[in-house]
Symmetry: C2
Subunit: 133 residues, 2 copies
Amino acid sequence: MRLTTRSEYGLLALIFLARQDPEGCFSVEAIAQSQQIPAKFLEQILLSLKRAGYVRSVRGSRGGYRLAKPAAQITIAEVVRLLDGALAPTYSVSRYFYEPTPIEREQSLIRFFQAIATQISAVMETTSIADVT
Amino acid sequence: MRLTTRSEYGLLALIFLARQDPEGCFSVEAIAQSQQIPAKFLEQILLSLKRAGYVRSVRGSRGGYRLAKPAAQITIAEVVRLLDGALAPTYSVSRYFYEPTPIEREQSLIRFFQAIATQISAVMETTSIADVT
DNA sequence: TACTATTCCTAGCAATTTAGTAGCAATTAT
DNA sequence: ATAATTGCTACTAAATTGCTAGGAATAGTA
């Protein structure tokens, strides 16, 4: 797994929105200032979150973002996967997981890291934005 | 945490040595060919492992490497920490863990990732090279 | 003594990833 | 109209990753 600022900022934005009136509308600028995130960077992240259906946007003046569904229905795993790519705790695990099997690497090592991957995923799948808000 | 090829190769080399005669001497070239690792890259990694006391080297012709201690006494955590830096599952966790506290980020999010970090560390601390050999 | 095999050590480098910035088009409230 | 806002794409500087290069030092062997 790799968690970059993209995920981190995305999660912070969702947590922010989870605290607001679900009918409200909050501009990139407002979210960015509140959570101390570079605005133009956050804009891109919110765009991804919108396309994936986690937030909804209202364009034009007085526009902004709001959650598209209850915070309890958005897991951390989903958000991280969306913004940072597949969850895998290690380079090798992600490689070996998707490739049939490389030449003949140490199977026990691969299994070890896969076990960790599974554990992490399980925790992230079962934790929602509501849980960390 | 980030596990790069450095850790992976280092672990593969240690696993290889763990299987050999503890009195033997195995050249970088031999290990590299057996585990399919670029030799000059592996050389650097073995140098780190040597400096940290996990392997011992014999210089000159007929020289090479062997384990400096029983495989059961080398944990995966140690090796990964040595070769890839501090274990921390995420960018933010490693940042926030060492800095007192940034401005005022979401504490519950930080705690969540720290819990994951702790879990991963625990597993890696209690698994040795012998366990994956 | 020369030669060869090997570790020791440092520097460098190409590709990728990360963390943004810039700028303009489209939309909408006023 | 104008101002505020999202939508979208392209660019870029810095860091990281996964190596490669090459020479110095050391030691066994002919």
